[in-house]
């Protein structure tokens, strides 16, 4: 099953169980979504439950918050994370804070889905990663969706939760294929160990996870070591317990992400590791991120500004050789 089909299935299954669940977004009904995620749902659930909105993100999120207060369970699609900036007042000042400011009297069962990241030549205004900003807002749960199986289970859980969830997808993952295990009960807050290892803990999420996995074997061969690759899954809250077990075992930490280096999400993971696990570290952690530049339209420049399988391999091998591996 494809990543986008898994997301679609999760919404379809929950919508058929609960008529309070409604979808909102730009071009999600008639067109079936810019990335074909909501395909077929209009026909099945009608235009009162699958709603095409105007191009006005602040109003989309504002309406969704109102609906959630009124008892509905809206699932919003923002066309890209870049456009979430237009809705930031609603997201930060209302969505995240209302349950707190009402002392829990208002619950917001609301999911905000948004794809982000560097795709193929979509230009500076459509290629940003905002998980760092979104996960720094108290009151929001933030999931980073790296695989179809996680997408299916995490979205179902997110829709059923009574708290606001930011559900971050990646534009280049919509056609990723994986068999989903519908019978299992997946905990969306738990980090997933993709591959076990003993010498280096590598933490990543979204597309960088796949890029890292594609060169992992070569890195292990070159450095003659074994790497543990972890999909972080939940960016807020973080499954620090799983990370701690892994880092105590390996003594080495690498964080790989696509966003800009300055203020990157991984910086806080590394900060936590150094604060809490200093005496278990056998080398200074390594953080691989995008450059501090807006993403260029030119394909070569675009690739030069983010980690690629090639650069990940080179950087990790350099770091390993200079740090006693």
């Amino acid at each position: 099953m494809l990543y986008r089909e898994a997301i679609n299935l999760a919404m379809d299954e929950t919508m058929s169980e609960d008529t309070n669940i409604i979808l909102l977004g730009e071009d999600i009904a008639d067109v079936g979504g810019t990335f074909r995620v909501t395909e077929g749902l209009l026909k099945k659930y009608g235009k009162t439950r699958v709603i095409d909105t105007p191009i006005a993100e602040l109003s989309i999120v504002g309406n969704a918050i109102g609906m959630a207060i009124g008892g509905l369970r809206p699932v919003v699609e923002l066309m890209t994370a870049n456009f979430s900036l237009l809705a930031f007042d609603q997201i930060v000042n209302h969505m995240a804070k209302l349950p707190f400011m009402s002392a829990g009297k208002i619950r917001l069962p609301l999911v905000l889905r948004m794809p982000q990241g560097v795709s193929k030549q979509l230009g500076a205004q459509h290629s940003e990663n905002y998980e760092n900003m979104l996960s720094s807002i108290p009151g929001l749960f933030v999931f980073a969706v790296s695989s179809p199986n996680y997408a299916y289970h995490a979205l179902k859980k997110a829709i059923k939760m009574d708290d606001p969830v930011i559900f971050i997808e990646h534009e280049l993952l919509y056609n990723k294929k994986e068999e989903i295990d519908r019978s299992s009960d997946l905990d969306p807050f738990k980090a997933r160990i993709i591959k076990e290892g003993t010498d280096i803990t590598i933490i990543s999420y979204l597309k960088m996870l796949d890029d890292t996995a594609s060169v992992l074997e070569e890195i292990e061969k070159e450095l003659n070591c074994s790497c543990e690759l972890i999909d972080l899954c939940s960016l807020n809250p973080v499954d620090f317990k799983s990370l701690e077990i892994s880092i105590k075992k390996t003594g080495r930490l690498i964080m790989i992400e696509e966003g800009h280096r300055m203020g990157s999400y991984g910086a806080q993971i590394i900060s936590w590791a150094v604060e809490e696990l200093f005496y278990f570290l056998d080398a200074a952690p390594l953080r691989l991120c995008g450059e501090n530049v807006p993403i260029a339209y030119n394909r070569k420049l675009e690739l030069a500004s983010i980690p690629t399988p090639k650069s990940i391999k080179k950087d990790i091998i350099n770091w390993g050789t200079n740090n006693g591996l």
């Binding site: 003594g251 005496y279 278990f280 056998d282 080398a283 200079n322 740090n323 006693g324």
Partner: protein
Amino acid sequence: MAYEIFMPQLSDSMEEGKLIKWMVSVNDKVKIGDVIAEVESDKAIMELQCFKNGVVTALYIKEGESAPVGTVIVDISLDIQESTSQIDEAEEKNKIEEEFEQVSSKEEYSLVRAIASPKARILAKSLNMNIQALQDIDKLPVPSHVKDIVLYHKKRFFTPKALSLIEEYSLDVSDFQVQTKQDSYAVLEYIKEKNISIKQKISSFQKALIENLDKSALRAVYHIYDYIDVRYLKKYSDYGMTVWFLKIFAKSMMDFEGFRSSIKGDFICTSVNANISIAMQANRKLYMPVLKDVNHLSLKNIEEKLLEYKKKVEISSLPIEEMQGSNLGLSNLGFTGIHRFDAMINQDDSSIAAIGASEAGRIALTLSLDHRLINGYEAALFMQRVKELCLEEEFFQEEVKNV
């Protein structure tokens, strides 16, 4: 040398472009980055740049005209002199970059502030090791990591023999509270004292064997027991017992198709020929190489094939294909003097024959059978057939003659 500039594709849906304005004319000198023209795509007007130095020799379309994506619209002749200077420039740039890299990598090392990783420091402390002092006399690298501390500790306090014991028993060196050098005797004492067992990783070969045995153990197996007369087996002893048994079983198998069958998914597959696997062991490993079409092989052929397998088994170079496709197994432990035993059915085989030592003119033969393929009556008839063949002197004469 000519350099051609094509109508570029400026958007995914653009098929042709309209030339709005030429920014150069024929005979103009152009250099890298110069704007040549303004082109209108289906979305916007964009500038068309030149990527080489040269002189414009021809403009193929007029302002206001359109051209399909990919057609040549400008010809530029490249000035040779200028292009060589370009190479020089590139070389210069590379050189500067190299120098820069050298400088920055040097700086990286001088920037190291800690002399050992936090984890290495903790370990060194527990081992009573002074990192600073050891680094001063170049016994430890700067910075030191856990690996360096362990390596130094090992070399300092353990003899090479002791180290190889530590490796063999996967011991942790930090378990030894040492002040003096430890030899292999001390390590052995430790092993005995703590009653540590040796750990060896299961090889892929052993893994496959274990999987096969696990599968075999799940089968519906029963046994039948009897004795066979050895008078002719002994009389015609130019060929070994195993060779004769292979021949006798192959001949009997041709009369009982259950013995040539195996279950594969929803099918029972029956071979046309008798394929027999034979148990061989070397270096504590069990192999079951397969002799194919034994019913068509002469005694001589069988003898040669057995010898070939024996050699391959001894150097562990038996390819997987030569261990597949059998219907019946044969295990002969007669040479050890054992009286009677029963064997595990191998892989997809229907049965296995276990042959004991010859005693008072007879040999104990045990058949272990897969009840899904062969019922008790069939098995008894098969056993009968084997016994009869052992008493037919014409059969022995015939086979020897056939060689």
